[in-house]
């Protein structure tokens, strides 16, 4: 369903089309509008409708690049690496086991400094087989060097895919970017999304200018044996690129906001955090659900706000410290680093050490796709506020 509207959203300057569709279809639309030259993908539930849609755009002629139907996710990432290394804009999408199968090549893409953009639909890892949402697939790719975004609405998926190309291809970044969003809650749920005209995206992204490429006129060998001195520099350069991405993420978000009118935050989306005694931290679709919980608690006079974490890598350390100085923190993780606890919890704790002395309480929720409602989030927050929670605990394992 589509309709034309001026200034849809909160003050957009450009004419937009409103498209009511699922997260996957919106991601496909965004990817195609970014005009990648090569897409290589392999289907996996719940990503399938994303790659099917790109195939549809091949049929309609809206996607003019090459679409490689590979025989595995590993090969999908390899083909993206080959294409990106040949100097073209590249996109793919996957989920769960597909992402895990890519693992080796995720490192490769980042180390080779290839600005590949990928959507990952957060899905449970087996066994047993389970297609519902949790974030252990992408959390376990934390150290591959990829920039990681987590989205909480279909509009944010669209806007983040466009922003991701801009960020990845910046000559001081040149890193691959992963856009994560929850299985089904977003991937298969329709929401209205403002789609700008193609020209807006074209102007925003510009033509892709690779920083290096395979070129018969400049025969260079890429990725051959490298000694410790050289390799150490390569790793440092990657970390510097993440540092630069930290500077750019707010700039790009602001630029896009001025065009589209949509502000999803940069590293963090703040919701009713002013004067809050407590701040709830969450990622992904739980972030959206948390807003409802915050509203409910605010009605009851509880001074609580939400900091929805949008970028997991680079880690928004300074933002964590800022909110840690202001309020006590409740952290919700839909993932588990077994033997330690929630990934976001440990990130926040590590950021705050010696910098802020907020009380931090963490909750593991919704693994295996177990439903997490605003009422659950309210219950969690109240338990934390009343001082009845442990430093880290599981919520809802036996309930329901």
């Amino acid at each position: 369903m589509q309709s034309k509207s001026n200034k849809y959203g909160t003050g957009g300057k450009e004419i937009m089309t409103i498209m009511i569709d699922t997260g996957n279809h919106i991601a496909a639309k965004a990817a195609v509008m970014a005009k990648p030259d090569v897409v290589a993908a392999y289907p996996i539930t719940p990503q399938t409708t994303l790659v099917e849609d790109i195939a549809k755009y091949v049929g309609t002629g809206e996607f003019k690049g090459e679409y490689i139907c590979v025989e595995s996710e590993h090969s999908a990432m390899c083909a993206c690496i080959g294409a990106s290394a040949t100097g073209v804009r590249t996109f793919t999408g996957t989920s769960s086991h597909g992402l895990l199968l890519m693992h080796e090549m995720l490192h490769w893409a980042a180390l080779a400094r290839l600005p590949i953009v990928m959507c990952n639909i957060n899905r449970v890892v087996g066994p047993g087989w389970n297609i519902w949402p949790d974030e252990n697939d992408s959390i376990s790719q934390r150290d591959t060097g990829w920039i990681q975004f987590y989205c909480s609405s279909n509009q944010e998926i669209f806007d983040t895919v466009i922003q991701a190309f801009k960020l990845a291809e910046n000559k001081k970044v040149i890193l691959p970017v992963m856009i994560n969003y929850n299985a089904f809650i977003l991937s298969h749920t329709s929401m209205p999304v403002s789609i700008p005209d193609q020209k807006v995206v074209d102007d925003f992204l510009g033509k892709y200018e690779p920083q290096w490429k395979l070129d018969v006129n400049n025969p260079i060998t890429f990725g051959n044996i490298i000694g410790p001195d050289g390799y150490f520099k390569v790793r440092k350069a990657m970390d510097d690129a993440h540092a630069h991405a930290k500077k750019l993420i707010p700039e790009i978000a602001k630029q896009w906001m001025e065009i589209s009118g949509f502000d999803h935050g940069d590293f963090i989306e703040y919701y009713k955090c002013e004067g809050a005694d407590y701040i709830l931290l969450a990622m992904g679709a739980i972030g959206a659900e948390s807003k409802v919980a915050i509203d409910e608690m605010r009605k009851k006079g509880i001074k609580i706000g939400l900091a929805r974490v949008r970028t997991f890598r680079p880690s928004p350390v300074q933002e964590f410290i800022k909110i840690g100085k202001q309020s006590d923190l409740v952290v919700i993780d839909r993932n588990i680093s077994l033997g330690l606890g929630g990934a976001l919890l440990s990130e926040v704790k590590s950021a705050l050490y010696n910098k802020a002395d907020a009380k931090i309480q963490g909750f593991i929720v919704g693994l295996g796709g177990k439903d997490v409602t605003y009422k659950d989030i309210e219950t969690i927050c109240k338990k934390a506020i009343e001082g009845k929670a442990k430093e880290s605990e599981w919520y809802g394992v036996e309930a329901k």
């Binding site: 290589a40 025989e71 993206c80 040949t86 018969v216 044996i225 050289g230």
Partner: protein, 301 residues
């Protein structure tokens, strides 16, 4: 084309890190001469990823992308797609992998890339072992051969990779051997002109891996062909053509030499001769080669 007429320009430069007598560099020199400089090469983990030399130097005067062990064909698919988008139709994409990266860990990506009709040349230089990691068995290691992981000799026969490739109905597949540079040159040259996936396998006798003297690489390859243990052929438009001595063996115009003429010069088969001759296992090798030739005669003569 005769060797004297090969292009003079070398794309394998000085300073390669190859072992003396390395068949991979010998083959690469010929392959580069046949393909010219308008190529992009994709190299997975294999000896060639060492032969290239250390960053920031290179021993190849063509663009090279290194990629993970199992990934040559998939990486090449991406390169090929990107070249197509850029309208660079004349650039040849060459995936160059060892037998480990082809027969074993890379077979899925290779099969997928061929099935998708990727327009590239995939060359497997087959030294019948994982040589880069120090001589372990591969799916290409022949029966009874010693490796560090088949200490008493391998118990299984090698995979017939050629059969697997031909089952994909590729427009062009060929087997050649580093000891016959004209045969190699002509096959690569022909592959370059054909659209779609092309597969060429080069037998590459490895002096340290097979345990023979580094000046005997060419002889080891020749003897593999003359004993019928390795076959030179082309497969084009579903038609098999046997080449050189292999053609004469197929047509029974010459007898293939006894396998001992090949294996007795290789330390990897020493246990078949010392402390006493292992007649049983040598016969198993002979019978297996006979069966292979009977199969070829039945199917392709």
């Amino acid at each position: 084309m005769a060797i004297k007429d090969f292009p003079v320009e070398e794309c394998v430069l000085q300073g390669s890190a190859a072992c003396p007598g390395c068949p991979a560099t010998m083959a690469l020199r010929v392959v580069f001469k046949a393909l010219g400089k308008n190529i992009i090469m994709v190299v997975p983990a294999c000896c060639t990823s060492v032969i290239e030399s250390l960053y920031p130097n290179t021993s190849f005067n063509i663009p090279v992308m290194n990629i993970a062990f199992e990934a040559a064909a998939a990486g090449a698919s991406g390169v090929e797609a990107a070249l197509r988008v850029q309208g660079k139709k004349d650039t040849t994409v060459l995936a160059w992998a060892g037998d480990g990266g082809t027969y074993d860990i890379g077979i899925q990506a290779l099969s997928g890339a061929i099935e998708r009709g990727t327009n590239f040349i995939y060359i497997c230089y087959n030294n019948q072992i994982y040589s880069n990691t120090g001589i372990q068995r591969s799916g290409a290691t022949p029966y009874a051969a010693w490796t560090t992981t088949t200490v008493g000799g391998k118990n299984e026969f090698r995979k017939e990779m050629g059969d697997i490739i031909r089952a994909h109905h590729v427009p062009y597949a060929a087997q050649t051997c580093v000891s016959y540079p004209e045969d190699l040159y002509n096959k690569v040259k022909k592959a370059k002109k054909i659209k779609g996936p092309k597969f060429i396998e080069i037998l590459a006798p490895c002096p340290p891996g097979w345990r023979f003297s580094m000046d005997k690489t060419v002889e080891m390859g020749r003897m593999a062909v003359e004993t019928g243990a390795w076959v030179l052929y082309e497969f084009e438009n579903e038609i098999m053509t046997f080449n050189g001595k292999s053609k004469l063996i197929l047509e029974k115009k010459i007898e293939r030499k006894p396998i001992e003429e090949w294996i007795k010069y290789q330390g990897r088969f020493r246990h078949l001769f010392k402390p006493e001759k292992d007649v049983k296992r040598i016969k198993i090798i002979e019978d297996h080669i006979d069966q292979m030739w009977e199969h070829y005669r039945k199917c392709y003569q």
